[in-house]
Symmetry: C3
Amino acid sequence: MNNIAPVPPAQGFADATTPLVKNCWYIAGLASEITRAPRARRILGVDVALYRTLAGAPVAVRNRCPHRSFPLAKGRLEGDELVCLYHGMRFAPSGQCTKMPALPLAPASAAVRSFPVAERGPLVWIWPGNPDHADEDLIPDTSWLSDPLWASVTGQFHMRADYVSMHENLLDQTHFPFLHPGTVGTPDFVRSTLDVREENGMVIIDRSLPNSPPPGIYAMPMDMAGQPVNRFSEARFASPAMHVAFARLTDIDRPGETKREWRFNITHLITPETNNSLHYWWFCSRNTRLEDKAVDRFMYEGSNQAYTEDVEALQWITETILQDETPQLDLNFAPDKPGLLMRRRLRYLADLEAGLLG
Amino acid sequence: MNNIAPVPPAQGFADATTPLVKNCWYIAGLASEITRAPRARRILGVDVALYRTLAGAPVAVRNRCPHRSFPLAKGRLEGDELVCLYHGMRFAPSGQCTKMPALPLAPASAAVRSFPVAERGPLVWIWPGNPDHADEDLIPDTSWLSDPLWASVTGQFHMRADYVSMHENLLDQTHFPFLHPGTVGTPDFVRSTLDVREENGMVIIDRSLPNSPPPGIYAMPMDMAGQPVNRFSEARFASPAMHVAFARLTDIDRPGETKREWRFNITHLITPETNNSLHYWWFCSRNTRLEDKAVDRFMYEGSNQAYTEDVEALQWITETILQDETPQLDLNFAPDKPGLLMRRRLRYLADLEAGLLG
Amino acid sequence: MNNIAPVPPAQGFADATTPLVKNCWYIAGLASEITRAPRARRILGVDVALYRTLAGAPVAVRNRCPHRSFPLAKGRLEGDELVCLYHGMRFAPSGQCTKMPALPLAPASAAVRSFPVAERGPLVWIWPGNPDHADEDLIPDTSWLSDPLWASVTGQFHMRADYVSMHENLLDQTHFPFLHPGTVGTPDFVRSTLDVREENGMVIIDRSLPNSPPPGIYAMPMDMAGQPVNRFSEARFASPAMHVAFARLTDIDRPGETKREWRFNITHLITPETNNSLHYWWFCSRNTRLEDKAVDRFMYEGSNQAYTEDVEALQWITETILQDETPQLDLNFAPDKPGLLMRRRLRYLADLEAGLLG
């Protein structure tokens, strides 16, 4: 293992300037955020108006009337239709114009762009790319977020950072003891066995750490502070929109006793707003002590502290890069491999969408 | 009448990116704003210093000393001359330098640009274009603003919007019932007979609506709420700097009674600050109940509400357009004809100034 | 002497857009600002992290980790080494990486840029250019700032202005009576004999004003208000980083009495942050009434008032230039000669660094 991996050719790896990957399911918002009161959110550079039909189905259309560019989310709903506040032009959930009050008949060819959306548990997904490719089977699994055998705490951030650095931060576990000494960072973990692989466009990291005390954030819900357990974890760059970490902790062999197992799933959902800003939601889910409010509070506080540290760090980096007059080609080291695989994947997808491949 | 007018070729119509028309009288400010204390205002991209001579004549010079670019409006007046605060350089109302204290003689060739100005009632007009063409006969008529047979209320806004959209909003009466349901928008009005014509570079809309109750804003001063009247209105794009609406309301035929007439003139004055921001003054004038403070208050409040709605709408549109990464070519419909005629006129004038025509 | 000097060819004289001169000692900060708590300051467009070793030596390194662009000043010190908060990468004062926790050995070729620094009395100097040319003999003399026979008051500003205009303001004494009527501006001074010369890359102005009362700021510490003295002053553009003024005042001939002498040194230290912003420190030093707090207070207040007037003036000019859509080529007059010599010198140095000369 060399200390310094060869500096990758810049053109093969995504960075903050690479066009955003559009053909992907991203989070439009929490299900609870999308209501009968239209709201606007900028998603991959496009301002989107979000609302629900009377039957409760989420709808996403471009937040810009095709007539005079008025933001439709400032308007109101009539049944399932969004009415522009400026001239009363109306749009069905499909985006089709159904009425233009100043005209005797609705203009048949007028429409606002409508985006494919899909609701899964607490999440509403949106497909900002070519709608012909919006296959709902491509929505990543987050079933634990609505499974009664699991309990979750959650939070969200609006960040000035790029999604490439964000995914790299999530794939990079070597920063835990430095940036998060109080929560997820245990020195042992950094030195644990690491396996990195690519699978179906995902980058997956497996770690196994036998006979070691759990980190603080897990030790409390497990009630195992300071006691050794076996620890298995998988972190995966699931898609440009999602990173998920699965932690499984088990008792070390205890003669004559049943071996217990604790599981924690950490779901990170990332929707670029622009190349340098993003919407971020996290869920920290557990399969133990589901009803215990003290555990909820503890896990929320620990998670929120660690993710706030990440958010601040990434924002500082963004600011550093954007205001620096002298560009820097960052150095890469062997432990950066997961991030580099992810950067290569994002670059491949971006090039594919730009028609640069084959 | 087709529902959708053909999308006009973009090159023939002005939009927010078209160079501003400079050879035109614009409002520099209210007469009351221009005093012996120099003030700065940015007009068509140029910072201008405004003040009055001892005799009361308004003066406008570029707000940038030709020596070291110091803003002259930060300086002070000596008689009719503006003295730069930095090195004491002095300028006559003509812009000619009359003194440079560090030199034995004033440098004969030094001058700051001076702009033609003209005062008319409560308004001071400025000509930002070629001064050789600054013919005062071109100043639009606003005589009712200083006529003792009329009374006015007034207000002003600094807006983040382009003057093309602003003029279009003023020529467009189909938005009244949607954006202004509480004040000027009556459903009948939208469906009234409409005549659009061009005349001497103006775009003029005539409407006639017999036997219909007046809108709220006029009904109160007329004391005719809910009672039918005949209503004639003319709205005109008078110049790049001004839109004016003349409303005339008369009694319907009442056997044996004199037919009364009420008139309202609404004056909109628009001075672009930049391509995407503007100074806006409005006056709402009436020829009835001149001394009645309750009418003043009512008409100010109704006007202010309606124009605040317009200002907000136009600012939302500006923000939508400026932050959207994907441009949109707005759709045009038959009722957009007045706005399109105005856009064509502004484009013609801009092309003329750019030397693009013949 | 002509009233208007020929307008200089723009290419031979520096202005706000000219590349900043890097091969020069600039102030990194006051000695008291640089401590064991790392701090960041942007110097000539580069973000720099500043701290002290355990032995007290000042250190300046680029504030951007070479691994993932994290700002190093957010990190902490371990002994003399700066530790990145993100992955724990460590750097010696030389910039050499000494440890990367995720690697078994420190990567030998990894380093952050380190800048030559030197401490002189209350000042820490930095060399942002080619370190091979960072000769400490080039640091300008400021020995009076740490000489027990002198006393100083000091202040600092962060300004939105360019260093060319700042130096011109300091070389330009014709603005004193207009911008600083209450403090340094006496009408006599403007008309005093003036000698301008270039010497070793410096621009030096000598003035001599016999038999005239001292300006307010000196009269009080001298206790000579309204009494005539002989006054000699030298103002020099010492380097792109420094302007210094030496004032010497003596009694006029008084038969039978010893001739007294008072001296005041005014030190202006200018570090561009970017082309349009700068860090500015001033010191007003005297060789009289060293322990008198009332003199300290008086000189601080007078200086602070005058320099605040300069800072505001230069910021107004910057704003005027940056927001004006129509560029202006400023006029030059004979008294602008010192500033023009300085502009020519800065331009020469910038061209030299750009490899444009010979």
